[in-house]
Chain length 398, copies 3
């Protein structure tokens, strides 16, 4: 698209009215139109920024972030998204708070939200907990808003939970759309979401789960490949199967990396921990069984080490479509002889795809900003039109 | 009030000219007019925000925060207040600074203030220290301003010291004013500030002290109740007595919770540590006597445990005015069987008052913003008028 | 200068076009005109702030800071500078990031820069590392910009490296310029950059190195004095010699503090660690040799203690020009009987110069803002003119 009007026209063709005043938890809770609205708004915001049109739609207001796991890129993406719209990030650092006093989620959620327009949460460590926690927070502020305590209902954006990583996969997908020239060109394309070896353990399942939960909606031939024992959440497998059926694509699980890579248009080789082991770990933490956790870690690392051959090699890449499938990763990757001896990908493969990988990552701030935008403005088309008319530059221009 | 002009008219009737370029340490250092100006400006700012009128009065400038104790709600309230006015919060994290190098308060205060319009400090841990430290900081920046080092004198806002917690009690009071339909309706109302049992120890005295120092000014019948041995600072008792006399109300101390609750219109049951013990603790810390501190902690917990019957029960609530006194708390509360086995309040009482409690907390950001506003603008009435004329929306509107 | 036009006229006489879209690493990599442009823009920004003219030139955008050493004044100076221009500071806290996962500098640099207009880094601890790291970051984002990954190239500002501390020395110099009434008055003035005793060890060399690398450019008579064994980087000595030659001043090294102070117009007595020892320490850290580090620390403290007589005393001050040389320090200073028993300066000397010292520090935010400004705007003169015409106040005015 070449003008802002093109994005507005696209939005006019979509039904996304349910996104207004709503949250973003899982991609499969959204309609196709709603997902396309996110990508369209993300592209429009990028277009405006690239053309030095300010997209500051808030004069004041906070964007609250809560990271229950370390983060660089998601933290900066959230901060960038908030800043782009005029919201100031305030991080809820649980270590510096009084939450240890036994405060309820309901109370904390309201106490931080008096002037909050959005809350972004990353809570991906424990199976059955992260997504549930986000819902608790959302329920609390929704009630607080209804009860007249909060003047606005902050939108909740899932910055990675135990089930899905929607800001990542929506950015991945926007990258794919741009690489393939449009959603309409994805039908029939083969995508391989495959496990890969890493010397670390306990990497979240939210990326592979999020990928099969989203990419199966475009009519693609999606293969999830992993060694036996590295199964993902069964519920998400069901989502993927049902998506594939509806979209006219296919979904299958394989225990053979070569099978998945064969003729693939897109490959996404990445390590994760077995779902069953992560469930066990959650229970061990729940019981404070530190010896059990150490034993589990040792066991998992040993199990991983049996599968060092699950690596994205040049040899495997040659077997993909024309030998040049689009290689994806959420970063940081474990690169052979760079970040570790044996890892997820050979250095020469990674190097060749460095620019596309960084480009892939660059969509995340815009995807987050779009999720906030669609929750906050009922008619983004009109807002875009007015912003264009207003011609307020992001960076002062003479 | 229904229009911004109503708030402006109210301000026109008050004398608060001494607040301009001044700090906010203790409520009893301010006149009645000055306190009413704070509440009026707070309400006006809330009115404007609710009507989507931007109150951004700074294009740039910093709000410095220094928290020497953990904090969630005060931290977010201060951040919200600054953001509402256009100031960016910059936290002085003493752990990340060079202050350990032996730098003086005077120097640090100036070094962080070159572009600071406000400094908010929480320093409530040690008797005789917190308020004194805030004065040191204020003196330093006042001198820096006079000496031409600083282009502006940052306003100091006491976010809780060893003596008072003015942003809390001013928010509490604004809540009371709204619940009772105006300051003029408070005369003769009975308020019970009572101790309550908590399994933790060492809770600051600033809330009960701040409450009796402020609430005695409205002609109310104020009772401070606590077990023997839980006395507060004698100086603040004197303030309360003198306030009550001047305002035509009353103030007395009781060692009987039931006596305090009887026919009360407002109850504020909350744990605190004995003043004498806190003084002792300050000395022990001063001498680095860690064994002494542990012994004191054990002693205080045992002493607390003798008073588990000091709990805000349904039974006690029934004895209040019509059985429905307004229940207040600064939060988080120790709730029976929720945050601990025995605590300050029964769960059913707390639950019934949850919404009013959250509403009470929601005034704090506005009270802080009002304190900053009155220190920074000589004529807030004119500023409000111009902001209304300008009609710049907080959130973009079409 | 009295009007903004005066600063604009000054800028019109200078050639600084290479600063646009460029970084600021070392002062000696910049031309005289470029340095003067920094001072002029810094003064112009201060003039505008003092006259309540908003200098907000960004509606959105991030200023990324990375502090690999504790910092108060540089942290707040950077935050103030960004805020003054409209950028929001986002701190990269390596402890909270995923960088430990083995991510490359190139990757991290790009991941945090999607909406970053400036990156400020302090990395002064290890010889041969800090400046090199900054170049790695700059190279990475320059490449990212060229490859279309970043929409803008963030300017890199050196907030202190192992070689230079340009934001400090440029602020020092701006202070000198104002004190002496113009650059043109500095020719022939004697400046003594001297070592002084401190009971701590391992203070960075970047200040003395930065001072002799910059102050030798003004035709001044610069003496670097220190006890034997406290040599600075030989490369910077060469820079200083060459500068002095070109500028018609002089540069020499002395091992006698009295010799340096004699008739000096400006004195800068400050502790630092021997370059050779710092090189050794870097190697010890590289090898993880903690015993070696402890031994080195002990050795260095003992070595320092041999030179307690290197103190800026009243007696020494009397020997300076008319007994009243301008005393400089980057702060915090080790003051006798205040921050330590024996230190860098007698309390009465420090006290007498407190105001000028704080004034000296007050230039740093403006110097940083000027560095950013010159990197971001090709024609600052036009921007100033338009800002003045726009007359948007920093603080709301009626």
């Amino acid at each position: 698209m070449k003008t802002l009007q093109d994005y507005i026209d696209k939005l006019n063709s979509l039904n996304f009215k349910e996104m207004y005043e709503n949250d973003f938890f899982l991609t499969w809770e959204k309609t196709d139109d709603e997902l396309e609205a996110v990508w369209t708004v993300a592209d429009a915001l990028r277009f405006m920024r690239e053309n030095n049109i300010s997209t500051k739609v808030f004069e004041s207001g906070l964007g609250i972030s809560l990271f229950r796991d370390n983060s660089t890129r998601t933290r900066f993406s959230f901060a960038s998204a908030c800043n782009l719209l005029g919201l100031e990030v305030q991080d809820l650092d649980e270590g510096k708070s009084q939450i240890a006093h036994g405060e309820t989620v309901r109370e904390t959620a309201n106490m931080i939200s008096f002037m909050a327009d959005v809350i972004g949460i990353r809570d991906d460590m424990y199976i059955g907990k992260g997504n549930a926690y986000m819902h608790q927070v959302s329920d609390a502020v929704t009630e607080g808003y209804k009860d007249g305590i909060l003047e606005q209902k902050p939108a909740l954006v899932n910055l990675q939970c135990d089930i899905d990583h929607p800001t990542q996969t929506m950015a991945d997908m926007l990258h794919i759309i741009h690489e393939f020239g449009g959603i309409e060109n994805l039908k029939g394309k083969k995508l391989a979401m495959t496990w890969a070896y890493s010397p670390s353990y306990g990497k979240p399942l939210s990326v592979p789960q999020g990928v099969i939960g989203l990419m199966t909606r475009m009519g693609m031939e999606v293969v999830l490949a992993h060694p036996e024992g590295y199964e993902v959440m069964p519920e998400v497998l069901d989502v993927a199967k049902s998506n594939a059926e509806k979209s006219g694509g296919s979904f299958r699980v394989s225990n053979d990396m070569a099978d998945a890579f064969k003729d693939a248009d897109i490959v996404y080789p990445k390590s994760w921990a077995p779902f069953a082991a992560m469930e066990k770990r959650t229970d061990l933490y729940g019981n404070g069984d530190m010896d059990g956790i150490k034993a589990l870690e040792k066991e998992l690392l040993a199990q991983n080490a049996n599968h060092k051959d699950w690596c994205c090699t040049e040899e495997l890449m040659k077997t993909t479509k024309d030998g040049k499938a689009l290689y994806l990763h959420c970063l940081p990757a474990d690169i052979n002889d760079i970040s570790c001896k044996d890892g997820e990908v050979e250095a020469s493969v990674f190097d060749r795809y460095r620019n596309p990988l960084y480009k892939e990552a660059s969509y995340k701030p815009y995807v987050i900003a779009a999720m906030i935008f669609l929750s906050k403005f009922e008619n983004p088309q009109e807002v875009f039109k007015k912003l264009e008319e207003k011609k307020s530059p992001r960076k002062f221009s003479i």
